[in-house]
């Protein structure tokens, strides 16, 4: 039997909700599934609509475009919710950009 995927707690500062997110899901996938109105558009690391401040915790990032999240932004603690998979419990705060 395959081992169960680890699940982490993700606190979304803007909505004040804490949701469960499996380690093989992105924070955006978990948020949308939980009914959180997280801003997003491409959901594949191209547009930066879901760009967020990672306030606490660790994530791993799926492939994304330079234009969506640059090295300096990454260094300053920004992340893309659509590409970020939790590696610990996480607190995250989306920035202002909202898709229509």
């Amino acid at each position: 039997m395959a081992p169960a995927t680890k699940t982490f707690q993700v606190t979304i500062r803007n909505s004040g909700q804490t949701i469960a997110c499996a380690a093989d899901r992105t924070i955006l996938q978990a948020a949308v599934a939980a009914g959180v109105d997280y801003p997003y558009a491409c959901a594949t690391g191209n547009c930066a609509t879901c760009i967020s401040k990672l306030e606490n915790g660790k994530v791993s990032l799926l492939p994304h475009a330079d234009a969506a999240l640059g090295k300096a932004q990454l260094k300053s603690g920004l992340t893309l919710a659509c590409r970020a998979r939790p590696r610990s419990d996480v607190t995250i705060n989306w920035l202002a950009r909202r898709a229509s």
């Binding site: 547009c47 492939p63 994304h64 475009a65």
Partner: protein
């Protein structure tokens, strides 16, 4: 000893000549399935001239995907780019509102094409079905009309390097509509038509 013609200068000349061909083709007939096909063939021919596009001349992505402008026209003109995408780099199904053509220099990228099946009346919701698929690799390319929907993913273990011609420059793109079958949702990024 013959003078070595600088690659960058040769590349610039080739891109300029290519764009002149593009305008010559579309000026006669406009943007039609036939002219788009012709543009694809011209772009594939340009991409085959790999000596013009040595990777050393183009920075690799810091993350996983980067576009280098080769020839970007003013105002409502076209944009020609060299794009580098690393394995796994993807884009969800989207309609970027303007025609485009792609041709590979190296590596492989899968494009899947879709058709929207809902009536668009429910805001934020959409359904799409797959209607086709093509893998772009050296010697091949693809073309899309203004509102065609495609997704992309780099396959294999090598970067996909290719040429991309868009009806508008990336900095002047219309709103891009993104479809998410997993969420049965549709979202749009703002138009850049008046931003550049």
């Amino acid at each position: 000893m013959p003078i070595q013609v600088d690659v960058a200068a040769r590349r610039a000349r080739a891109c300029k000549a290519f764009m002149a061909q593009v305008h010559s083709t579309t000026a006669k007939e406009g943007i039609t399935p036939s002219t788009l096909h012709a543009l694809k063939l011209k772009l594939v021919a340009l991409a085959k001239r790999s000596d013009l596009f040595p990777l050393a001349d183009f920075a690799m992505p810091q993350a996983h995907g980067r576009s280098h402008p080769l020839l970007v026209e003013e105002d409502d003109g076209h944009g020609l780019y060299l794009s580098i995408s690393l394995p796994g780099k993807e884009a969800a199904p989207h309609d970027h509102g303007i025609w485009c053509a792609n041709a590979a220099i190296s590596g492989r990228e899968r494009h899947v094409f879709y058709r929207r099946t809902d009536d668009g009346k429910k805001v934020g919701s959409a359904e799409i079905v797959k209607v086709g698929e093509v893998v772009i690799e050296p010697g091949t390319g693809m073309v899309m009309a203004d509102h065609d929907i495609h997704s992309t993913v780099v396959i294999g273990d090598r970067p996909a390097v290719g040429l991309a011609l868009y009806g508008y420059a990336l900095a002047r793109f219309p709103s891009v509509t993104w479809f998410h079958p997993e969420f049965t949702s549709v979202r749009a990024t703002p138009s850049r038509r008046h931003a550049a």
